[in-house]
C-alpha cells in the first residue's frame, strides 16, 4: 500500500506495527476499532461513525485481502441500516 514513510503519521504507523501489533493488518484494524470506540464514547449514531469507517474500509479492502471478512460484516451492517431507514417508514 502506498505510504509516505517520512511523515509523522507514517512513522507512528510503522512503530505501532513494529513494536505493538506486529502486523500491518492488525494496526489498520485497530484504527477501525478506535473509530468505533470513539463513536461509542461520544454517543454518536452508528451512521456518523460509518461515514468515516466505510471509505477507510474500502481503501483497506482494496489493498489487503485480509479485510474481506471484517469489511463484509460492516458492509452488511451498512446495508441493514440502509434498508431499515431508507425504505421502511417506521
Amino acid at each position: 500500500m502506498f505510504m509516505n514513510t517520512t511523515g509523522s503519521i507514517a512513522t507512528l504507523f510503522q512503530y505501532a506495527t513494529l513494536y505493538i501489533t506486529g502486523s500491518e493488518i492488525i494496526t489498520l484494524l485497530s484504527i477501525l476499532i478506535l473509530f468505533i470506540l470513539l463513536g461509542l464514547a461520544f454517543r454518536l449514531p452508528i451512521e456518523v461513525v460509518l461515514l468515516i469507517q466505510v471509505p477507510l474500509l474500502l481503501l483497506f479492502m482494496a489493498f489487503y485481502s485480509g479485510f474481506t471478512a471484517t469489511g463484509g460484516i460492516i458492509l452488511i451492517g451498512l446495508a441493514v441500516i440502509f434498508a431499515l431507514n431508507y425504505f421502511i417508514r417506521r
Partner: protein, 142 residues
C-alpha cells in the same frame, strides 16, 4: 410488524446487501484493479433487474418472471414429468422461486466474504427457519 412487513424487510435487506456489495466491489476494483474480488454478481438478486451491461430493465415486461414455458428433461413416467413441469411452472410464474431463493441468501453473502463455515451455518439456519415460517404464514394469509 406483521408478516408482510417482515417479508418486505427481508427483501429490502437482501437487495440492499446486494447493492452495497456491488458498489463496494466496484470501488475496490477502481482503487486497486488487482485487489480482492469477493462479489459474485451472476448469482445476485439484482441481476434479474439488469437489462444488460448494468442498466435497469424499465420495460416492465416480465420483471423477475420467466418469458417462456418451463420444461424438464424426460426421466420417468409421464405423470412424474408432468408433476415436475407443473411445479416448476407454478414456482416460476408466481415469482415463488425468487421468494424461496431468499432462504439461502445470507449463506451466499457470508460465505462470499470468507467467514468460517460453522458461523455461516449458524446464521444461515436462523435466517432459513425464520424466513421459511414467514413465507408459510404469508402464503396462508396469517
Amino acid at each position: 410488524m406483521g408478516t408482510t412487513d417482515n417479508l418486505i424487510v427481508i427483501l429490502f435487506v437482501i437487495l440492499a446487501v446486494d447493492v452495497i456489495f456491488l458498489l463496494a466491489q466496484t470501488s475496490i476494483s477502481e482503487l486497486n484493479p488487482s485487489g480482492t474480488q469477493f462479489y459474485d454478481y451472476d448469482n445476485s438478486f439484482i441481476k434479474d433487474f439488469d437489462a444488460g451491461n448494468q442498466t435497469i430493465d424499465t420495460s416492465h415486461a416480465g420483471l423477475a418472471l420467466p418469458s417462456g414455458e418451463s420444461a424438464v428433461n424426460e426421466e420417468d413416467s409421464s405423470f412424474t414429468d408432468m408433476f415436475k413441469t407443473g411445479k416448476s411452472w407454478f414456482l416460476d410464474v408466481t415469482g415463488l422461486s425468487y421468494l424461496i431463493n431468499f432462504l439461502g441468501a445470507p449463506v451466499i453473502f457470508l460465505s462470499m466474504i470468507g467467514l468460517p463455515s460453522l458461523f455461516v451455518f449458524a446464521l444461515g439456519a436462523l435466517w432459513w427457519g425464520s424466513t421459511l415460517f414467514l413465507i408459510i404464514a404469508f402464503l396462508l394469509g396469517r
